[in-house]
């Protein structure tokens, strides 16, 4: 009996140790978001119950991975940064050379027993690598360091862009840029780039008709990428093709009104007008069935999650933790903003999922690794305080 009791307390202690690494506010926000996601998924996959079951499995796997990652102390993560990055880039080169093509893009690498999509792991390993690099050169950051950082970032981004996978390239680029930004990139560089971006978008909006005219090619862009931007500017030019997605998701969202049509009552969703309704366009399902109210709740949850992440960054005792946490938080923002922007027709359709909500095990695991990293960074601070 005694033996059992002591064993039991040891187990309890062990579990308590594992759980103590979890950040309660972030965990609460994540659970809330994932519950909402599961509810929406229950409607979006109404006709494919096996998808819903698969989603539940994905959730369990992703949360377990988060739990594990949260246990890894940041110092250990720093040791892993370079090897992870190196392996990722090698695999990307492997994709470039031996990759398998699916849906017009070379994204998959067959490693014998399974197929993997190396670009996905770069979403984590690029910010990890950059944070580690800046942390190592913390003492004297020079222009040279930012140049090296840019090279570290651009190698995988260009490889992914070349596959072509614009969505992932944007997300990896954003994650890296955020690290560089938080590392202290001069405003003198940031402001002109932002200005150029604003001007470019303004030009596109104003001159879109001419630039999208028949036969005009954009240097450096694939035809389908150009088409996506042009369709965004005027979806009605292609109502049966790419414009169909934007038109139908806008109708779904708009017809949802303030309080929505009710769970599983969305006609656009259930009559299959909304494309990719359990993956990239799941926000349209949510906005149709839960209306503006649901959309506001979702925005608030994301704000809370990003806010908590930025708070963890701001309080982290190490530069590595600060940079990594800041970049991961803003990555969540990038996902959410780009996805909701494209589904509501203000951004081009680039294949970015709605974070923690869209169906897809790989993306969910990657995002939960991000959460785990945030928790690991926060746990380090708490340990230091004690």
């Amino acid at each position: 009996m005694q033996l059992t009791a002591s064993k039991w307390s040891a187990v309890r202690e062990r579990i308590g140790g594992v759980l103590s690494a979890l950040d309660p506010p972030l965990l609460a926000i994540a659970v809330l978001l994932l519950s909402l996601a599961t509810l929406v998924m229950g409607s979006a996959t109404a006709d494919f119950m096996h998808r819903f079951e698969a989603h539940l499995v994905n959730l369990a796997v992703a949360l377990s991975v988060m739990l594990v990652v949260a246990q890894i102390p940041p110092l250990r993560l720093m040791q892993l940064a370079l090897p992870f990055y190196a392996v990722g880039v090698v695999l990307l080169i492997g994709v470039e050379l031996f990759g398998e093509t699916s849906k017009g893009a070379q994204r998959w690498l067959n490693i014998g027993f399974t197929r993997i999509q190396p670009s996905e792991m770069l979403k984590i390993s690029v910010p990890l690598m950059l944070a580690w690099y800046f942390h190592r050169h913390e003492a004297q950051l020079r222009v040279r360091d930012f140049l090296v950082a840019a090279v570290i970032l651009l190698i995988p981004v260009l490889l992914i862009f070349h596959q072509p996978d614009l969505g992932t390239a944007i997300l990896v680029l954003a994650a890296g840029v955020f690290v560089i930004f938080f590392a202290g990139l001069s405003w003198k560089l940031i402001i002109p780039v932002l200005a150029v971006g604003v001007i470019a978008i303004g030009t596109l909006a104003a001159e879109g008709d001419a630039m999208c005219a028949e036969g005009v090619e954009w240097p450096g862009f694939k035809a389908y990428q150009r088409q996506r931007v042009c369709t965004l500017l005027d979806p009605t030019t292609d109502p049966r093709g790419s414009g169909f997605h934007i038109i139908q998701s806008s109708i779904a969202i708009g017809s949802g009104g303030v309080f929505g049509k009710g769970w599983r009552e969305g006609t656009q969703t259930h009559l299959e007008f909304v494309p990719e309704r359990h993956t990239d366009f799941i926000f349209a399902v949510m906005a149709e069935e839960f209306g503006l109210a649901g959309a506001i709740v979702l925005l608030c949850i994301y704000i809370a999650m990003i806010g908590r992440g930025l708070m963890i960054a701001a309080r982290s005792p190490m530069l590595f933790g600060r940079l990594l946490a800041g970049a991961i938080s803003l990555s969540f923002f990038t996902y959410a903003f780009v996805n909701m922007g494209m589904v509501t027709g203000v951004l081009p359709v680039v294949g970015v999922p709605l974070p923690f909500v869209s169906y897809g095990g790989t993306a969910l695991v990657t995002l939960c690794i991000g959460l785990g990293l945030l928790m690991s960074i926060e746990a380090q601070r708490r340990r230091r305080q004690r």
Partner: protein
């Protein structure tokens, strides 16, 4: 970049950037919120309507087309259900390839492809077009299994028109064809485009065309919730279609069959009318065609054959082709002369065998003449001289005035399209017909030829039958019609086509009696006697021969001329003479004398209609019939 490496300053700078990032996040999310507000509040009504439009489709439910039945209820046109394999060309990128692939599953022959191409040329661009009709169950099963491979291709159960008697009465029934661009424009103009949603076929000729509005019915609608792919999920509301009305004809299919058989392989036309109502009992144009050929869209080869045939089977000779009436004109000349007071029955001429007028000699058929000829004899022996002289005495205006009262030279108003007016010659007609002044002048000599039914005279068998019916009916005129009643299938109610006299020709009974008696005697002792020998009823008639080719003085030897140049044989008749039940006019093209070819057909018609005797075969040609008409 940073010279001050103090951790505190670094942290302050970092936090400043975190605030900045937080602010950017809030600004961007505010923009998203603004976008949500725009879509979900400001534009909500618009998108809600769009969503409803997406969700609900109005599907037409096509009504069954009305049947066409003869006067005894025999079905002449009906519908049958068949599976068709249909392609929507606008949804198929590579049509040839798709058809090749389909041909591996179902039997698609070269003629199907040709027909499909022809349909494509004629179709409205959003149509679905049949590549194959009447699929077997096996073929349907094979296609259904592979359907996913063929977007834009589907199997549908459709109702098709069927004419169970194939060629019988084809010119009366007409035919159905797919709605082409011209039809579609007409439908739009008539404001019935909604009623034709879901309808692919429309009546193109005959009764199918004339009674299209009655036969078509009212299209019903189903409000259906549909998926993006167009699959119906559930029915929200249903408005049942109203099936088309059935047409009950005055036509007697048995009689029609007898007539068509009586003609055999010969060309010609016959119209038989019930004098007391104007109901058409038989309307025959030979050769006939099979209207079933048109139902699926006629293939190019059959179309070519029908159109280029020297016999012109698509031509409705009974109502469109106008022929000189020849001697069948004489009873009407005589009746008119009595009515106008130009002749008395007993007035007789001495016939020398010719009539001289203005230095020109008009010959009789009989060399040496018929001797003393009064009105009765003029009809029985068909004396030309009598009528040359009558025409000269009466004048063209008088003749034209009377003949127009008998319905000659104007459309009878029968209920199918395509009637021609024929030619009732008169000085006015000539002025309208010709352009040059010297052609427009009416010459007195022309009146003489008109008197014996030659010259410019040209009437359809429809008009001749109508004239005979007016005579048989003692001057009371009924409008000829094919449809007796229109029956609403759902309510069982029926509308009778009223047989009301439209007008009366002012004729004296004693004059009518003279003509009728003379026509009776034609069949007893005159040119019709051989054909009507032994008939147990009394039939009145008159033979006639119309020149298809004018012979300049040469002696006519029918058998030796090329077939197309031979004269047409005519016969007009009614029976029984004292209470006419049927009046007819018949022409057999290039068949020589009326007595020889046309009268035996009339005999078979009367034997069948009055006695119920079915003839064993085509009407015999009486080669011994006299050429004296």
């Amino acid at each position: 970049m940073t010279d001050l490496h103090s951790p505190e300053i670094q942290l302050i700078r970092f936090r400043r950037r975190v605030y900045f990032a937080g602010a950017v996040v809030l600004v961007c999310f505010s923009l998203l919120f603004a976008r949500f507000f725009w879509l979900q509040v400001v534009r909500h009504d618009y998108y809600a309507t769009r969503a409803e439009d997406n969700r609900i489709a109005l599907l037409p439910v096509t009504p069954n087309r009305g049947l066409i039945l003869d006067r005894n209820g025999e079905v002449l046109a009906r519908n049958y259900s068949a599976y068709t394999l249909e392609i929507q060309p606008s949804r198929v990128s590579n049509l040839e390839h798709t058809i090749d692939e389909l041909a591996r599953l179902v039997n698609i022959e070269a003629r199907d492809r040709k027909r499909f191409r022809k349909l494509m040329e004629e179709s409205r661009n959003f149509d679905t077009l049949p590549i194959r009709t009447r699929l077997t169950d096996d073929e349907v099963a094979r296609f259904i299994g592979q359907r996913y491979r063929f977007p834009g291709v589907e199997v549908r159960a459709r109702l098709f028109r069927q004419y169970p008697n194939t060629e019988l009465a084809s010119h009366v029934l007409g035919y159905m064809g797919r709605i082409n661009r011209r039809d579609a424009a007409r439908i739009d103009e008539a404001g019935v485009a909604d009623n034709y949603r879901g309808t692919d076929h429309i009546g193109k000729s005959g009764l199918e065309q004339f009674y299209e509005d009655e036969l078509h019915g009212v299209t019903g609608f189903e409000q259906v919730e549909v998926t993006a792919a167009g699959r119906a999920v559930r029915v929200l509301s249903h408005t049942a279609p109203q099936n088309g009305n059935n047409l009950r004809l005055t036509l007697d299919a048995g009689l029609q069959r007898v007539v068509e058989q009586a003609f055999g392989e010969r060309r010609g036309a016959l119209v038989a009318i019930e004098p007391s109502t104007g109901g058409v009992l038989a309307l025959v144009s030979k050769p006939t065609f099979d209207p079933n050929l048109f139902v699926d869209g006629i293939d190019a080869a059959s179309w070519e054959a029908l159109n280029t045939s020297a016999d012109h089977p698509l031509l409705n000779r009974a109502i469109y082709s106008a022929y000189p009436p020849g001697s069948t004109f004489k009873p009407f000349m005589a009746l008119g002369a009595l009515t106008a007071g130009k002749r008395t029955p007993s007035f007789a001429i001495a016939d020398p065998g010719h009539f001289e007028y203005g230095g020109h000699l008009f010959r009789d058929d009989k060399v040496g003449g018929h001797g003393s000829v009064d009105m009765h004899k003029s009809i029985v022996v068909s004396c030309n001289t009598y009528y040359y002289r009558l025409a000269a005495d009466w004048g063209i205006d008088g003749i034209a005035g009377f003949m127009s009262q008998m319905g000659l030279g104007s459309r009878s108003g029968i209920d199918i399209e395509g009637e021609s007016t024929g030619v009732l010659p008169s000085p006015e007609w000539k002025k309208k017909r010709f352009k040059r002044p010297e052609q427009q002048k009416w010459y007195a000599g022309e009146t003489i030829s008109v008197g014996i039914g030659q010259g410019y005279n040209a009437y359809t068998m429809m008009q001749m039958a109508q004239a005979v019916a007016i005579l048989a009916n003692d001057g009371v005129v009924f409008k000829p019609h094919l449809v007796k009643q229109i029956e609403n299938v759902r309510t069982g109610a029926s509308r009778q086509v009223e047989a009301k006299p439209v007008r009366t020709v002012d004729l004296k009974p004693e004059h009518i009696a003279v003509i009728k008696q003379a026509m009776v005697d034609v069949n007893k002792a005159g040119t019709g006697a051989r054909a009507f020998a032994g008939a147990p009823y009394v039939a009145a008639g008159k033979t006639g021969t119309a020149q298809a080719f004018s012979l300049r003085g040469a002696q006519y030897r029918g058998g030796k001329l090329a077939e197309k140049l031979r004269d047409h044989a005519l016969f007009v008749a009614f029976a029984p003479a004292d209470d006419p039940k049927i009046a007819l006019a018949v022409i057999v093209e290039n068949a020589g004398f009326g007595a020889q070819s046309a009268a035996p057909i009339a005999r078979q018609v009367f034997d069948y209609y009055l006695l119920g005797n079915k003839p064993a075969g085509p009407a015999p040609e009486d080669s011994d019939a006299t050429d004296s008409e």
